[in-house]
Symmetry: C2
Subunit: 366 residues, 2 copies
């Protein structure tokens, strides 16, 4: 068995000890005679797994007591509809456009009411979506039920390094954020947040699980056509078991949370993420060969898109990377080029191996 370094944007690499433990427990979870996949979601064994997973998550991210944590399905794309069905009351929602994910969110919100673009980084320079519009410039609506941001744009490699403080902007609407691709990579300023959601398949676990953190006072206003299974108040009242939850994905997420705690928690992981991102961006910026087009203050620590000086070099770069066991480095089709996703589970050694390969490749082709 040879594990590669896997730079996929999601589903993405997971910590090896998590996978090893899952494999060891696959046929028999701790003497229960069943694998986790086979357990009733209402049995005492899964109860224990679920309670521990939620508790660990609450500890790791310091989630305040007034936030419910919901374990849902459908990923961020489903949440893009589920959020307005629960929070918009059919009225105005505000949207900060910073890349392809926030654009998708706003398009879906148009089904449920007026979805205003209050700021945008489209056509912001040599390339689209490479800066962050300053919160002071956002043209917030007086009557929006919430303000939506995507705090890390997986495709464009743009990250909000500080969450906007809407109250300081004179806005009472809650902030709603899609933090799918950097959840768990740094602490969250919960006092600035009303609702946060995240597909699990980047920093948390397998695809098919969505985490929703919602402040309790926002519950209970679902539109009449909102499916029961996606009504936050129903999901919360039933402890995420109104419908059968994705039990195995929750178990894997729980193992990842244990691993995160063993790494020293989110603050320690953030330091390592800074170190990894600095190494990669320095390698790009320090070369006359590679380029990253994102403004420095807006660069994502998780997703690093970069480009070669000649389009004919992409095929040999990717083939050589595979030979070096550096996988899934092709950029998203809408941006092109290359992209390295370096989530929590990517070790520093993986980024070092990538940087070493990049230097060799640049020397040969520069």
């Amino acid at each position: 068995m040879t594990r590669a370094y896997n730079f996929s944007a999601g589903p993405a690499t997971l910590p090896e000890p998590v996978l090893a433990q899952a494999a060891a427990e696959m046929l028999d979870w701790r003497g229960s005679g069943m694998g986790v996949m086979e357990m009733s979601h209402r049995g005492r064994e899964f109860d224990e797994i679920f309670a521990r997973t939620e508790l660990r998550l609450r500890e790791l991210l310091a989630v305040p007591a007034e936030f419910k944590i919901l374990f849902m399905q459908g990923g961020a794309i489903a949440e893009n509809a589920i959020v307005p069905m629960n929070l918009s009351r059919g009225g105005v929602t505000d949207h900060v456009v910073t890349g392809l994910w926030s654009i998708k969110t706003r398009q879906e919100a148009l089904r449920y009411g007026e979805a205003h673009i209050v700021a945008s980084n489209a056509a912001d320079g040599a390339a689209n979506h490479t800066t962050l519009p300053a919160p002071a410039t956002w043209r917030l609506s007086a009557n929006a039920s919430y303000v939506h941001v995507c705090s890390n744009e997986t495709i464009n490699g743009v990250e909000m390094h500080e969450l906007p403080d809407l109250r300081a902007l004179g806005c009472d609407a809650p902030l709603v954020m899609d933090c799918s691709s950097h959840i768990g990579s740094r602490p969250i300023e919960w006092t600035r947040v009303g609702l946060a959601y995240a597909g699990a398949q980047k920093n948390i676990g397998p695809s098919g699980l969505t985490l929703v953190f919602v402040r309790e006072d926002l519950l209970g206003h679902a539109l009449p056509f909102c499916p029961s299974a996606f009504d936050y108040a129903v999901v919360a009242a039933n402890g995420s078991m109104y419908n059968t939850p994705p039990t195995y994905s929750i178990y894997i997420a729980g193992l990842v949370f244990e691993w995160m705690a063993a790494q020293g928690g989110v603050a320690a992981l953030e330091q390592r993420n800074i170190e990894k991102a600095t190494l990669l961006y320095d390698a790009i910026d320090g070369s006359a060969f590679y380029t990253n087009r994102v403004a420095r203050e807006a660069r994502s620590r998780m997703n690093v898109p970069f480009f070669l000086p000649d389009d004919r070099l992409y095929a040999p770069f990717l083939a050589g990377a595979e030979e070096h066991r550096l996988l899934q480095l092709k950029g998203h089709k809408s941006v092109g080029g290359l992209r390295a996703s370096i989530y929590n589970a990517m070790p520093l050694a993986g980024v070092q191996a990538l940087v070493t390969y990049m230097r060799e490749f640049a020397q040969r082709h520069g």
Copy 2:
């Protein structure tokens, strides 16, 4: 490691070879350097897994070419909303009530239009939901967009052993069926079906995956507020990858399909299921101790609820069963008593062990 016999109604026991293979491939799928959970859903490795899984499923259930197979999320409870959002056009839907699942389905459909109860087995005898209303007695609406049945009621243990032929009843509406808890246990008469859906967590794999089989002519009529991620036409046009699908659950389903093929396919599994169910029902009927309240012609081959002659005996029965490594036999709270779910993956030896224990228990306490 000691595997128990696990009679959970779902999530439920899976074939041991499936779990063993999943464990062996957890850290490295066939030399790719990645586990399946870590693969991009758009990469060539997962493409191969997905294509093979869909093909195997189509072969096993002889799904005709005019049916799309969609891999979705949210289980049957989410589908109870997603089906009317896609098919009802806001009008009338017909519902055959045969137990708690079809009741839930009808309640959810009320959000989207008139949901008529056209037949019901409530209050049909000594206990509720123990018979099947004959199709000739259904009071079908002239203008329903579909007729819904739950072809196997997991909680009540009632199964339609033949699907209704709506055309023979003079009805042109498509049949929509929730077949979550017996899909794959017997062949499906597709000429009688417009749409079938099934949560995976009984006969197929882990919870968090929903299979939808939909006749192509029914696509394209979603209500305007239907989330994109749940619009069948969008999901079909994107090959179930409009949002990130539950990749690991699909992989496990694929391994289960390979196992089913190796067992001789669905017809062979049906024979084994008949054998297992006959053994268990005979043990119940042949005793003066155990009772099953469902009419013989309506009895489920998958879910067998049964009762003891004295309520004080349930605790010792369940404790003794656990000692014999016979797990999760407690009945659903709405029905009470005991329930043995004996899906495809439950070996004959498991049912034999249960029957042996039941005989011993009856001798001691009868």
